[in-house]
Symmetry: C2
Subunit: 159 residues, 2 copies
């Protein structure tokens, strides 16, 4: 196996494993439990779920893979802190957004050729990319895997 | 920059960034706060700190980089759940273990040649590695970065 393929496998094993782990935690929680705070005074489970969907939607833009699926989630789940927005979508709806989004991301990720992962993402200029070639599309997967793990360590506290 | 070097930079930027983020959270917490549970009935901050040191010590073995620095932490922080061991080391001692270990790991990681990161780690047989070349040393860094992020998302709740 060529080095590039090995590296892609390591990166996507980690991404897919992190998604699977989040799903396992999420599926063990009821919609009611998602309304609880992960710790006193901290974010609620439902906020973490909406936040992840909104952040993963931004990945579509960064990876130049089309439009966001749920642009309406940016305002309540990225721009606004938890418990400052009057009405959030119900947990059941967010669960279905999440499942659909995971499918779409998987399909789009699978369609990229190995070398395309080493092209620049959309938030870096061609000039900066020439000097900093690690600011590529694959790095978006790597950093968002970290982000997903960070919040998985929080959601699990509701179990 | 060669593809291998770009991979290594992406991986170690994430590892180093995750260590720096943990340090930032940890340095904002007093020894007293570390004695608190991250959420009611869950692990205490001090347990997470000891757990990370113990897990990172295992990396030395997996990466064939010598002996553990603090083998005495395996029993209380990996084998035993929190609040089942009578006396844990004081937080001040764990903080100094952590700082020292980060230095040692950095030095050892820096000493490896790029191609050595793609050699097998010690927990995989030569036979299995021939079929699964992604089970290399670099993958240990990638998976432990996920682990570190997971627990960082928990420690931050004590702030």
């Amino acid at each position: 196996m060529a080095t590039t393929e090995i590296f892609l496998k390591m990166t996507f094993d980690r991404w897919n494993g992190s998604i699977a782990n989040w799903d396992k935690i999420l599926n063990d929680l009821t919609d009611e439990t998602l309304q609880k705070e992960i710790a006193p005074g901290k974010n609620r489970g439902i906020y973490l779920l909406g936040h992840l969907i909104a952040v993963h939607d931004e990945m579509l833009i960064l990876l130049d893979m089309g439009e966001k699926l749920y642009p309406q989630l940016y305002e309540p789940f990225i721009k606004s802190p938890d418990k400052t927005v009057n009405q959030l979508p119900p947990a059941s709806e967010l669960r279905s957004f999440w499942a659909k989004q995971c499918e779409v991301l998987k399909q789009k990720f699978d369609s990229l050729k190995p070398e395309e992962w080493f092209e620049k993402h959309t938030a870096v200029s061609a000039e900066d990319f020439a000097k900093e070639p690690h600011r590529n599309k694959l790095n978006i997967i790597i950093t968002r895997t970290s982000h997903l793990q960070y919040h998985s360590g929080q959601l699990v506290l509701l179990k």
